[in-house]
């Protein structure tokens, strides 16, 4: 097989764009796990709702990309807030299995309600950019992908600054590091947990809205992505945000390369094989030392 350089670069760029979107989901999961020690099974459905929100808002704004994006993120943050106040607030930190089963129920409800109201027919989402793209030499990337990747990068930069320099973010890291000590200095776990869930939902809404013009939008789109996001959270180390981001970009690249050269079955199998190997070699994830333990 001859390897065409243009093809390889194209695959690599697509892989990075894909990886950044995975990272948005995985980071949200990590954030919630770090603060509450629970796994949100319905996280993929938040992404799906984000994509649907984008699909519904775009025609209203006359296909303008940015206002629709903002509206979708806000909507999903509201959904996240509601999920926290109604369901998650009743969970204690040691109820890991219960958290999974409750959010699993929520995920079933969301998927099938969406399917009931809006059918399972895949939707194509059009934006002001259509299929236009940038061309560098013979490489071509659509604007929607470039913007999606850019927005994800901006979101990570924002997240880093928030976690590092604001009281809001420091409280989250404090709870993640030592719950009792955080309580003693007057940090309220309930408020911090709510903030974390809303923030994670916002990231997920951004991912969903950014994916909408790139992929077909269906009620099931979240399920396939969440499975990868779970694997990434394990590979990166549970609750480790930079680890999750690194693992996500790595996976995006590997998937893109494998998808370019091998059968599709290998592409899906890759993530699982990597996860098992990582668990064998480093049970606590690839990036245990260093980095910012969630916050």
């Amino acid at each position: 097989m001859t390897v065409d350089a243009t093809y390889l670069v194209q695959l690599t760029l697509n892989g990075i764009a894909l990886g950044l979107l995975y990272a948005l989901i995985a980071v949200g999961l990590s954030l919630i796990f770090g603060v509450m020690e629970i796994i949100n099974f319905a996280h993929g459905e938040l992404l799906m709702l984000g994509a649907f929100a984008m699909a519904f808002v775009l025609p209203v704004t006359g296909l303008l990309y940015w206002p629709a994006l903002a509206a979708a993120i806000l909507a999903i943050m509201l959904v996240g807030w509601a999920i926290y106040e109604v369901l998650l607030v009743r969970l204690r930190t040691d109820e890991f299995e219960r958290s999974i089963l409750i959010t699993l129920g929520l995920s079933i409800i969301l998927i099938h309600l969406m399917q009931y109201f809006f059918t399972a027919t895949p939707r194509l989402v059009d934006t002001q950019y259509g299929f236009n793209g940038v061309e560098i030499g013979s490489i071509r990337i659509t604007w929607t992908r470039v913007i999606g990747a850019g927005a994800a990068l901006a979101a990570f930069a924002g997240l880093y600054l928030v976690l590092r320099y604001t009281q809001f973010g420091r409280a989250m890291r404090a709870i993640a590091q030592n719950r009792e000590a955080a309580l003693m200095v007057g940090i309220r776990p309930r408020v911090v947990a709510r903030n974390a869930v809303v923030l994670a939902a916002g990231l997920c809404g951004l991912a969903g809205a950014a994916i909408a013009p790139i992929q077909l939008v269906t009620p099931y789109m979240g399920q396939f992505l969440i499975f990868k996001a779970f694997a990434l959270v394990i590979i990166g180390g549970l609750g480790n945000i930079p680890g999750a981001i690194a693992a996500a970009i790595g996976l995006g690249l590997i998937e893109s390369w494998i998808g370019g050269f091998f059968e599709i079955a290998w592409q899906e199998g890759a993530v699982f094989v990597i996860m098992i190997v990582v668990l064998f070699l480093r049970p606590d994830g690839l990036f245990k030392k260093g980095g910012m333990r969630v916050g």
Partner: protein
């Protein structure tokens, strides 16, 4: 007297269930009975790993599907018979469970949940994409009826006996296992692992064994069920099955053998009653799951036990 009551009641119930095809000739009703038997076995296997050992495994769905495919492929592609197919299904699954379980059980129970979940979804994708083996979305239709001693179990009513014999054997085995020293060790691991270690018992082999046995039984159950359907395709790995097993275990009461068996029979009939809309049925299932987790997190059996304890306490007072 009280000691004999439970085995006696279960024997009577098993015999009554065996008589179902004699009472009704409706294939629809017998089909529901058959599903109830098989789902109960799969749920009891999930109960072994989740209820007794305390490890929430989503891999059951994967084992269920692999078992179905292994049995179907043994018969259709490799020219074996149904019984060998079931054996292969159990074996393949037990080996897979050990391969996946060993690295995962060394970490914490959080990682176990997530890895098993990804495993289940991976199996679905492979069933769909490995077309040369599984024939992809088309599936393998026209699975032949199994034979034994020159008798052909064709038709739902005949096949019901196969499923019945299988279920009674598996439930009997699981009951014996769960009420043995091994079962008690598993419960001890769930309740307090450090204490179990302090007693000189290594928990990992027990956990692995429970996972492998649970996988083997789930796989064989999947093998029987796909021959009831007569076809296997990637829809056999629909998450719906996993939800059914989970809901049976949770409603019945994780860690309670008879609670799960009773819930299995009752809950398998429920979806048929809810069959007015395919989509809303799943919404109701999700709602049952969420509400049950809040109202009675330890299931009907746990709820009854709590009430009993409360009454005893009042009595003492």
């Amino acid at each position: 007297m009280k000691l004999l009551a439970a085995p006696l009641a279960s024997m009577v119930a098993a015999l009554l269930l065996a008589a179902l095809p004699l009472v009704t000739s409706s294939n629809y009703v017998i089909g529901i009975g058959l599903s109830a038997l098989i789902f109960t076995v799969a749920a009891a296997a999930l109960n072994l790993i989740y209820g007794y050992t305390g490890l929430l495994s989503f891999a059951q769905l994967g084992f269920w599907g692999i078992g179905g495919y292994a049995t179907a492929l043994t018969v259709v592609t490799f020219g074996g018979n149904f019984w060998w197919g079931l054996l292969w299904a159990a074996l393949v699954n037990a080996v897979l469970a050990i391969v996946v379980g060993y690295p995962t059980l060394r970490t914490n129970r959080h990682a176990f949940v997530i890895v098993t979940l990804t495993f289940a979804l991976l199996v679905t994708l492979i069933a769909r994409d490995w077309v040369s083996l599984t024939r992809g979305p088309l599936g393998i239709p026209n699975l032949p009826a199994p034979e034994a001693f020159g008798h052909r179990f064709a038709g739902t009513a005949q096949f019901y006996w196969v499923a019945w014999a299988f279920s009674v054997a598996m439930l009997g085995f699981l009951y014996a296992l769960c009420s043995s020293r091994i079962g008690r060790t598993l419960v001890a691991i769930k309740q307090n692992e450090p204490l179990v270690r302090a007693q000189g018992i290594a928990p990992v082999p027990y956990k692995l064994a429970a996972f492998a046995i649970s996988a083997a039984i789930t796989g064989a159950a999947g093998g029987v069920y796909c021959f009831h359907l007569g076809i296997i395709d990637p829809l056999f790995l629909d998450f719906y099955y996993m939800q059914t097993f989970l809901i049976i275990v949770i409603i019945g009461g994780a860690g309670s053998f008879w609670g799960v068996v009773v819930a299995g029979v009752v809950m398998s009939a429920l979806p048929e009653l809810l069959r007015f809309s395919e989509d809303l049925r799943m919404v109701i299932y999700g709602a049952i799951l969420v509400v049950a987790m809040f109202v009675m997190p330890s299931g009907a059996a746990g709820w009854l036990r709590e009430r009993q304890l409360l009454r005893m306490r009042e009595h003492v007072r």
